[in-house]
């Protein structure tokens, strides 16, 4: 988990006619608002530094307009940066020649889009085979692969349909299959599930998590939905106005939000379904009693702990080594929403 796959260094993106001319002002700390009013440029991204670990799901979240799409499009360079580096496996994507970049997009990173981005003139199977065909894979093999992946995302039998004949959820399965079919190590997902309704969305999250269990891709997942971020993210980075304001272990962010904006974000989450035992346990204090996995969420743990005679349980890792213990009181306080003092005057919006 500690291998760094993608290293984003001092990345800046300014939209406008002469981005380089205002770069220094942004570096000196000019705000997005001032930049727009005084210089007519839009600040897209500001000094982004993120390390994305290999084989995990890294979530980038933020409200609409915070720069999420802009950021993820820098990873495969659909957008050119104003300054900075994007190191993938030791290579700077932003310095690649045209051919090398095409090669990178064909083999190293594939993408799933919020609005699906399917080709309406191709059948479902042809859409899934698209990346392979672009690579130059022989048609027969591309077709086999495409059928295999359609099967994996649960769309066997729809090969010869056209995208317009499928529901939104099914279309995004096609988008996912298309991205998986190229065998790229990196999967970029820009609000891939945001256009789907809640039930289908949870469904798709399950599909993704199941696939990830065996594929171990490096996934960069964009969302504006905290529940989704917490459900699937191994790490989370939060963007606001083009800058990262907090990143790290999701549990850590919930327990120690470092800013009003994040406090606002986490206010309405269902803590019982999000906070895990390892976050609340008292370390190193073994007791006599039931053992619960460290990654169990409070909602599941509550009845179990309450049922024990001791009103407490041990917390263990996957190999059943005892890490610490937790009692009923800790679980219940963990469920309560912490009181937050927010001054309405200096809120972010």
């Amino acid at each position: 988990m500690t291998d760094i796959k993608i290293k984003i260094e001092n990345l800046y993106k300014i939209f406008g006619p002469k981005p380089k001319s205002v770069l220094q002002r942004v570096k000196d700390g000019m705000s997005k608002q001032d930049l727009l009013e005084q210089h007519g440029h839009v600040l897209g991204l500001k000094d982004i530094n993120i390390d994305i670990p290999a084989q995990g799901i890294s979530v980038i979240m933020g409200l609409s307009g915070s720069g999420k799409s802009t950021l993820i499009r820098h990873i495969n360079r659909l957008i050119e940066p104003t300054a900075g580096k994007m190191i993938v496996d030791g290579d700077d994507v932003l310095a690649m020649s045209k051919n090398k970049l095409i090669d990178f997009r064909r083999h190293k990173a594939s993408m799933v889009f919020q609005k699906f981005g399917l080709h309406v003139h191709r059948t479902v199977a042809e859409n899934v085979a698209y990346g392979l065909v672009v690579q130059g894979t022989p048609l027969k093999k591309a077709k086999e692969q495409s059928h295999k992946w359609l099967d994996r995302v649960g769309l066997a039998g729809f090969e010869e349909h056209y995208p317009s004949q499928l529901s939104g959820g099914m279309q995004q399965r096609v988008g996912l299959a298309r991205a998986l079919a190229t065998d790229a190590e990196i999967l970029l997902m820009d609000e891939a599930f945001s256009a789907l309704d809640p039930l289908i969305r949870t469904d798709m999250q399950d599909v993704l998590l199941d696939l990830q269990e065996e594929l171990h891709k490096t996934i960069v997942f964009i969302t504006h939905d905290l529940d989704e971020a917490l459900r699937i993210g191994d790490t989370i980075a939060i963007l606001r106005d083009g800058a990262v304001i907090q990143q790290g272990d999701p549990q850590d962010i919930i327990m120690h939000p470092n800013d009003d904006y994040i406090v606002d974000f986490i206010q309405d989450i269902n803590r019982g379904r999000v906070i895990r035992l390892r976050t609340l346990m008292s370390e190193g204090t073994a007791i006599n009693g039931l053992a619960l996995n460290q990654n169990m969420v409070l909602e599941e743990a509550l009845p179990l702990v309450a049922d024990t005679a001791e009103k407490a349980c041990n917390v263990v890792d996957d190999a059943n080594n005892i890490l610490g213990s937790i009692d009923l009181n800790q679980v219940i306080t963990g469920l309560a929403r912490p009181k937050v003092e927010t001054n309405p005057e200096n809120r972010y919006r």
Binding site: L78, I102, F104, F113, L118, H119, V134, P163, L188
Partner: protein
């Protein structure tokens, strides 16, 4: 006071002499230009002329039942509709019955050749225009002029340069008919959704893969509308082109105008309309058939 009234009521005009000299100068230099280069330009078009003449001959010497069979076959291949096939057969039989077979074959030849030329030049030009805003802003006004200038006006320089005959006729038909295909190809490609293109880019499509795999297929409805309009305009230009020596249905129409032959004019005019309808239906349903996804799962 007087001069002011004069000034206001009479437009201040260039002197007659000056105007005459200017026109003379332009005419003279153009005449010189055509004397100098006319032949070279004409021989440049020789292959085209050869093609047109051979094609027309072929249509003329082929026995009429064979032509009708081929037309019916093409209609079936393009439209896959019995109504259109039977309609075409009946129309051609009527055209022959009323004695317009030869003229119709000539018209068919020139319309086919000029449509072919317009497509061969117009689609690539439209593609280039879609790629470059600068080229678009340069070509659009030229297309505007080509579409609005009265056809008779550009017949003059064409005739001065190339004389009277098939080549100048073909050229003027092409000038008149090419704007829609250029415009609609450009428009169609520019209207392709950003998402579809972004997906192609993200999967590493090269310029060619992008163009032929995404942009052109998605622009097809517009491109076909352009082809269709180009054919229609070529047909409507046939009458005017007959003034400068293009054989075909336009010749009897011109004759009827000068001699007030109502029946002859109407019949030949209707023959042009019938050709137009057949071309229109066949090209439109062919365009639709190319886009299977538009009628869903139904395959043929």
């Amino acid at each position: 006071m007087d001069w002011l009234i004069n000034f206001l009521t009479e437009f201040p005009q260039m002197s007659r002499q000056g105007l005459r000299d200017m026109k003379k100068m332009i005419d003279g230099s153009y005449r010189e230009f055509s004397r100098e280069y006319g032949e070279a330009i004409e021989s440049f078009f020789d292959p085209l002329l050869w093609f047109l003449v051979k094609f027309e001959e072929l249509l003329q010497i082929t026995p009429w039942p064979v032509v009708i069979l081929v037309v019916a076959g093409l209609a079936w291949w393009g439209a896959r509709s019995w109504t259109i096939v039977i309609g075409s057969i009946v129309s051609f039989l009527l055209i022959g019955w009323f004695g317009m077979w030869e003229d119709t074959m000539s018209t068919l030849a020139i319309v086919s050749v000029s449509t072919f030329i317009c497509i061969a030049l117009g689609i690539p030009l439209g593609i280039l225009m879609a790629r470059s805003d600068r080229l678009q802003s340069m070509v659009t006004p030229v297309l505007d002029i080509m579409q609005t200038i009265p056809a008779f006006v550009y017949l003059i320089p064409v005739v001065m340069l190339l004389g009277i005959g098939k080549v100048p006729g073909l050229l003027s038909v092409c000038i008149y008919a090419i704007p829609p295909i250029v415009r609609l190809t450009n428009l169609g490609i520019r209207l392709v959704e950003k998402e579809a293109l972004e997906a192609a880019d993200a999967f590493g499509a090269s310029y060619k893969q992008r163009l032929f795999g995404v942009q052109i297929p998605l622009a097809l409805p517009n491109i076909f509308a352009g082809v269709n309009q180009t054919i229609m305009m070529a047909l409507s230009m046939v009458v005017i082109a007959s003034m400068i020596g293009v054989a075909g249905l336009g010749v009897p129409v011109l004759k009827s105008i000068s001699n007030q032959y109502l029946a002859l004019g109407m019949m030949n005019g209707l023959a042009i309309v019938v050709l137009a309808i057949i071309f229109d239906r066949v090209s439109q349903s062919f365009g639709l058939r190319l886009q299977k996804h538009r009628h869903g799962a139904q395959h043929d």
